[in-house]
């Protein structure tokens, strides 16, 4: 009996059931807090026609960027995709579709999706190309557009620590989109730096409760830095 134990033993087990044409909601901002080994597993599996919901699409050769190499992505839902030559090529060639979504709206779409709220009104994007074709409603003299929630067949998440029940703690700004993405997957898969003994995480300091987590695996991470900026000591 597994009970609440979410631990799986291999990356292939972690991503079992992923099929062509599915939607994946991914945590991460830039290369920070991205589920790099789960992404690598998606590349190994070779699934195609994927819709990926993620703030960015990695860089050439790392993060979600590696899924462009074999043209596995059909559509990206992102707020910013400027870091990636292969992305640009495939977009211009019409091989890739992109739905640009304001960053806060994207976070809220994931949050709403996981929280059972099908849509919400926001002032963000009203009167801009983002608002075109969307329902407009006025509240207290201000105009808002209706934005629909997002859920995925899978959510892929990177956390710092977890216990076997899938209670998660994120490290620093690697938190970013991960807590919302974790709630928005039919199957939520989490990779962590460390699985700690049950009971050793303070219940009041859990960022994501284990109820959202279906599969958990411990990995090792490159954690590539996108913009290395330093000051002299």
């Amino acid at each position: 009996m597994a009970g609440f134990n979410k631990i799986v033993n291999s990356y292939s087990e972690a991503m079992a059931g992923l099929k062509d044409g599915m939607t994946i909601v991914a945590g991460g901002f830039g290369l920070c807090g991205i589920p790099e080994n789960l992404i690598a597993e998606i590349k190994r599996k070779g699934c195609r026609d994927l819709t990926i919901v993620s703030n960015n699409c990695g860089v050439d050769g790392f993060g979600l960027g590696i899924l462009l190499e074999d043209k596995q992505i059909k559509k990206m839902v992102s707020s910013y995709v400027g870091e990636n030559k292969l992305f640009e090529q495939q977009l211009l060639a019409g091989e890739l579709e992109v739905e640009l979504t304001p960053q806060g709206t994207l976070a809220e779409k994931m949050r709403a999706g996981g929280a059972g709220i099908p849509a919400f009104y926001t002032a963000t994007g009203y009167g801009t190309p983002v608002g075109e074709g969307k329902e407009v409603r006025e509240f207290n003299g201000r105009k808002y557009i209706l934005e629909e929630a997002i859920t995925g067949d899978f959510a892929i998440i990177k956390a710092w620590k977890a216990d076997q029940y899938g209670n998660l703690v994120f490290r620093h700004t690697a938190q970013n989109f991960n807590p919302m993405a974790a709630t928005a997957g039919k199957i939520t898969v989490v990779e962590v730096e460390e699985i700690v003994e049950l009971g050793s995480l303070d219940p009041a300091h859990i960022h994501t409760p284990g109820i959202y987590v279906d599969r958990l695996i411990q990995g090792s991470f490159e954690k590539r830095i996108e913009q290395r900026t330093v000051r002299s000591a």
């Binding site: 995709v81 709206t105 994931m110 919302m180 330093v230």
Partner: protein, 218 residues
């Protein structure tokens, strides 16, 4: 003389007030952090999920898990908090950030801003800019007054796709400090040595010029 990037940042920094929570965009707005007036405290918000952004790390402090919205490695200041992107944009959208400073391609007399998309060029995305301009009451736009070809960026109507509508009230350019209300630009200050005529020439939208336009001092 038109203001340098550093002077632009210095001028914007004079709008900071003690106790302000501030979001600074990428480019010139980032430089504003270097000119916080003495004797006041401000806290910098970075929309990826950090309130209380500190300076860049030393080589020893560098940490891949600690970045700002420009994806640069940073530190957390004493008293900082870190949270999810949804929480971060709740504080932005909810109007809790006191001042937002960002760049733009164009603004117009109605307070509209265009800052993210030039049709025909590669479109990279709006990031958090649309949320920031929709959520903030107090926004300062920093930009050059005109393009390299001398075309005004202060217009009757923005020509590029918008980032937000009716949201901009203050613009600091390399030539002037301008406020926007009642469908007009209002000239408040000019850069040192820049004539009012030069500013009028490079402002396409209707500009109200008072009898005396003080020069900025640095």
């Amino acid at each position: 003389m038109a203001l340098t990037r550093e002077q632009l940042a210095q001028r914007v920094a004079r709008e900071l007030q003690d106790g302000y929570y501030v979001n600074l965009g990428i480019g010139i707005p980032t430089l504003v952090a270097n000119y916080v007036p003495e004797g006041i405290e401000v806290m910098l918000q970075s929309e990826n999920g950090l309130l209380g952004m500190g300076p860049f790390p030393t080589e020893d402090e560098i940490d891949a898990d600690m970045i700002n919205a420009g994806k640069q490695t940073v530190t957390a200041a004493k008293g900082a908090s870190i949270f999810s992107s949804a929480e971060s944009f709740a504080m932005i959208r909810g109007g809790h950030v006191d001042l937002t400073v960002l760049g733009a391609f164009e603004v117009d007399v109605a307070g509209n801003i265009a800052s993210w998309m030039i049709p025909g060029k590669l479109i990279k995305g709006m990031g958090g800019a649309m949320d920031l301009v929709a959520g903030a009451d107090n926004i300062i736009v920093t930009m050059t007054h005109a393009s390299k070809h001398g075309e005004s960026k202060l217009l009757t109507k923005c020509s590029l796709p918008l980032t937000g509508v009716g949201c901009i009230k203050k613009v600091v350019t390399d030539l002037a400090y301008i406020e926007i209300h009642d469908n007009k630009f209002w000239l408040i200050e000019r850069a040192p040595g820049v004539s009012v005529d030069d500013i009028i020439k490079l402002t396409e939208g209707e500009l109200v010029v008072p009898d005396v336009v003080p020069e900025m001092t640095f």
